[in-house]
Assembly symmetry: C2
Homo-oligomer: 225 residues x 2
DNA sequence: GTCATAATTGACTATATAGTCAGTTATGGA
DNA sequence: TCCATAACTGACTATATAGTCAATTATGAC
């Protein structure tokens, strides 16, 4: 049942710090607790999957009381939504770091894409798993859909944004750009996921270089054909 | 708790029909019931995800009593395992249909791969979703791991088998072949999954042809470089 | 038709998990 | 120090789901 009225006990909001007000000790304590919950939840979700995870697992892992969870989040899908947003932020951030280096050709941009995704896969494996298991929920008419779908769109848009400058010569076909974004995102996530089944970590690492090479060539061809 | 002794009530086994014995009406009834359960479960799993699905949802959808479920399967993950095996069988079957047409070049084989995957995505969408949500369970230390992982390995091996003949000139590097299989599987599954978020169905269909073209070129390059 | 056997049923019990709230502990201000 | 307020706690209740089993219905052999 959805409560249309306000909650009796207001939840804590440490998500956005009001600017120019130094955080009190109380606020810092709450923020630290929230952080502990987020960290624990990410681990649990990546181990068990969001649906199979229980609140108790999270609070247990965070070494906090169960009631504390409900002062910070409404339910599992609430905290999962926050984590997905964070993960996408990290992925986009990683993409922008690549973007900071001067790039003059489409090939270079695409190489940066692949590098950035590989870095993300290596350095944020829990988030990688979270994103990849959450992604498919879309098709599945569920409540949390928008909360989950929105960050993924942001991600696709970031890829598109970085591509734009190099497509000036050709017509800026929206479908073609989105198609490319899907191809890049899909290839990288899909490859790493399958690689996790079929290959040893060292083999995965060794595969990156030649794959990058031919995938970049292929995409360049695709975009400029 | 794992019961090491035998169950008090033996479950029905209609999975493999003993050869040369015509099925009785009783057997056919049981087989039909089992089929109804499998069909309902596939729908439910692809709508809600395996972890979020409940037995009641499945028996409700199949219009059967709950107890019936337990005469045919031990639990959710048991029936999910059967469904994953079936889905992989369909995918492999689709791959073999492509293979039946005479292929003389690596490019043709790769084109058939892409065609077959696209056909599977179009004609078995529920199974596509099931496979794709199940796939990641691997990383996540769970009980059903082997049951789920084995079919995926079969799938990768089928891809490898079809590629073999065209790699005779080059050294048969096991890692390289598995890498290619991961690339094909990952690209196709990954692309379609992201396309489901970011694109309209018609745009997806329109994307197949040009994508196939450049992806095939890319993979050929990759294998023969 | 009658009986033995097998499949099916769904109400029932056991269990696990969600979500609550009165009580406890920490912080901030006087 | 003492009080007001906010964060935290975990035992508790409500609910949902898993899994069971005695009763029911269908089938097969005679």
């Amino acid at each position: 049942m959805e409560s249309t009225g306000q909650k009796r006990i207001e939840r804590i909001d440490t998500s956005v710090n009001k600017p120019a007000i130094p955080p009190s000790r109380t606020e810092k304590r709450a923020a630290k607790t929230r952080k502990k919950l987020l960290t624990a939840a990410l681990e649990i979700f990546s181990e068990c999957g969001v649906d199979a995870a229980a609140i108790d697992m999270i609070t247990e892992r965070a070494d906090l009381g169960k009631g504390t969870f409900y002062r910070h989040f409404t339910d599992k899908y609430d905290i999962a939504g926050v984590l997905v947003e964070q993960a996408i932020d990290h992925l986009i951030e990683t993409l922008r770091e690549s973007d900071r280096q001067p790039t003059t050709t489409l090939q270079e941009v695409l190489e940066h894409f692949l590098n950035a995704h590989y870095a993300f896969f290596r350095n944020h494996q829990d988030e990688f798993i979270l994103l990849f298991q959450g992604r498919l929920l879309l098709k599945l008419e569920r409540q949390a859909t928008d909360r989950i779908e929105a960050p993924f769109s942001r991600y696709l848009e970031e890829i598109e944004r970085q591509l734009m400058p190099f497509l000036g010569e050709k017509k800026l076909d929206w479908v073609r750009i989105r198609r490319l974004a899907c191809a890049v995102a899909g290839f990288v996530f899909g490859f790493f996921s399958f690689a996790m089944i079929g290959m040893e970590p060292q083999d995965i690492a060794d595969s990156i270089k030649p794959l990058r090479q031919s995938f970049v060539k292929s995409l360049t061809m695709f975009l400029t054909q």
